[in-house]
Symmetry: D3
Subunit: 156 residues, 6 copies
């Protein structure tokens, strides 16, 4: 049976990392937001729009990565030593891809920080283009976040 280290004596708790060693750790997570073609066009071809949407999402993602242990109940606070967030346009004109890399010299992995950074960066893109994505009924038939995953974890 799989192991669930955050559940001990039948109760959720923060797994004890007191005895673990401080090690260099790094994680990269990625994810995509699917948008309307016109919205993507406006972002790709408009420096002002692109700059503002992506800069705002980048800052939000970096701040969220540092905030992870306040959002995810059993996450340990770890001394984040670097976070970066990057964006690329999908080849088929339908999505923006975000990647977040986080590093620490600490006692536990940093993948939740990278995943939180990517998720909040993508949510911020959504918020920044809300008015362009809503249909006449105020719904979002084409907008969606997909494929949020850990690309790579490195330890040591």
């Amino acid at each position: 049976m799989p192991e669930f280290t955050h559940i001990e004596n039948d109760r959720a708790s923060m797994v004890d990392i007191s005895e673990k060693k401080d090690v260099s750790r790094q994680a990269t997570a990625g994810g995509r937001i699917y948008l309307r073609p016109e919205t993507l066009d406006a972002i790709k071809n408009g420096d002002v729009i692109k700059g503002n949407v992506l800069a705002t999402a980048r800052v939000a993602g970096i701040m969220a990565a540092k905030h992870t242990s306040n959002l995810i109940p059993m996450c340990h606070p770890i001394p984040v030593s670097s976070v970066s967030v990057d964006f690329e346009f999908g080849e088929d004109e339908s999505y923006i891809e975000a990647k977040c890399t986080a590093k620490t010299f600490g006692r536990t992995g940093i993948e939740m920080e990278a995943l939180t950074g990517v998720s909040v960066a993508l949510l911020t893109v959504w918020d920044m283009v809300k008015s362009a994505e809503k249909d006449e009924d105020g719904q979002y038939p084409e907008t969606g976040i997909e494929d949020v995953h850990v690309i790579e974890k490195i330890k040591g």
Copy 2:
């Protein structure tokens, strides 16, 4: 060209909602986390594991929904009047589906709160089953968050 109300005079800013009316508003967002079959089995068939994983994720999602305007830079603080988070198991034994419904009586829509609630609930499920999802190299080849979308927005 699509409209970007969060960008004014070439700069990102919080759109002014001073003149909007307070109205009953509600939004429901959904999303899925794909997990290993053994992890899903352990959750479905183990009351202790299920209870702890899902209760922790529910609380995290509700708290995150209330915290949205601190995470998403241009989001307005709104008086959240209700948040709930629910989980269902996918029929094909490969994922857990989360839904978050948020309500307010306020001047702007509450879909970012519902989306943030769902996203953090799914990230918390991930964190709670990390030890069961990692392969021998510490990677997550099967884990992923998909299909984060707005199911419905209701106004008035």
Copy 3:
């Protein structure tokens, strides 16, 4: 059987207050911290110590009251319109009593804010006198928080 409005369909959720009316609401909570006689003497007779201990605890309690909905998962964010924190010395030289009054014009009661304000004010007193309360083994045989309760709730 008693009613549990924060549990609906077998799940914890924030009770829906969308349909409730905005009303003037007020709550006062109280609580005590028991301390060593020498610590209490030093606080009562030393203006500098008293000023610093109680002013710091007052500010902490007021800030915590405003922060309640970020600490208590199912609490609604409410527009706190006033908070005050007060201290009195117990007659028998063994404790300090704190009271916190919070007010709002809102849709739900404000007693959790008053209770949180009192609790954090008392915890801050503890922190401020830690060095005076510890015994030679670093333990706190005499320190304790007691009688945290709601003195009065007023609605309308």
Copy 4:
């Protein structure tokens, strides 16, 4: 005269721990919430109610313990390496007892984190059973938090 290390040159300040050594540290705090017999019965005998009340309070307590240095003004941020929160029913059917154990490998004691975790866990129990504890006038004649104390501090 007792020592007040958080007051220096007549002013409140965070005591300087730059020269202290990193050491394994652990603290356990406890406390009780007194409730109406019917409320306690409903919690003890109803799996759904018990599960939701205690799981929510546990998560809140763990998150609050990590948040301590943001609540208590002179508390140092410390790298919390583990937190757990547990509940027991009092023998005489009148209260629930909470315990919180926090661990760190750091330069200062972790008792304020354990005390904050217990306090917020008990406040969350209160919030979860509010509707069952209020009398017909909306008052709480029987509810109270008592005996919040440090059970044990361990260093090294």
Copy 5:
């Protein structure tokens, strides 16, 4: 003698605004950061540097304005309905000027939000150009924030 409404019965407390009316309110605050000529040149003439420095500072200022009541102890939480942050270069090549405008429909003025937004925006500019402003000893002989003031408050 001047009035100090945040001090009542000899104690700091949040002034009671329960009886005040909701009114449209707006405040604009300004401030300057003085920088080395070479740093200013690099920002003015480098689109990449300018974009990143000012976009990051703008986002930080907007988020801080929303966070004001968590930073300033006696500030009321108010429903911020809009915040914007702008930058201009001083005519004499020695400083950047920031302005922050905040709006609310609420019971108390919003000038502390505007001032907090400007202050954090300027601190963020400083952080973004730290490496360019430090001299060989790691000191900042030329960097300084000046003239943080309220430009205008509008009520009704």
Copy 6:
């Protein structure tokens, strides 16, 4: 050309400090708030007013210094080991001067924490004397924060 370490590959990011050594670090920042003579007189000559204004501002500054990495997007979370905030009255009866000293044993400088501590302490003084500084039109013609600078950074 000056170096901008927070901008890498044309994007804002937290500079990587993984490879830097933990070292004792200290920074002191200062700043002034100019006030009306009558306000300053009331503070200087009224123990109650002085005590409340300065104690509240001191606590706010210390808490803000610990909160710096949540306010300034590219700031690293660092283990703050001490913060103190002090006030002096200017010789010419026109301002209060604040100083904030912060210490850490960490991988990056602590001047942003000291600057944030001073800035929020001064903003809190402003908030505490708002009612005394406003003119009949609700404006602040005489109030201003000036000369926020780093007095000294010490490393090792």
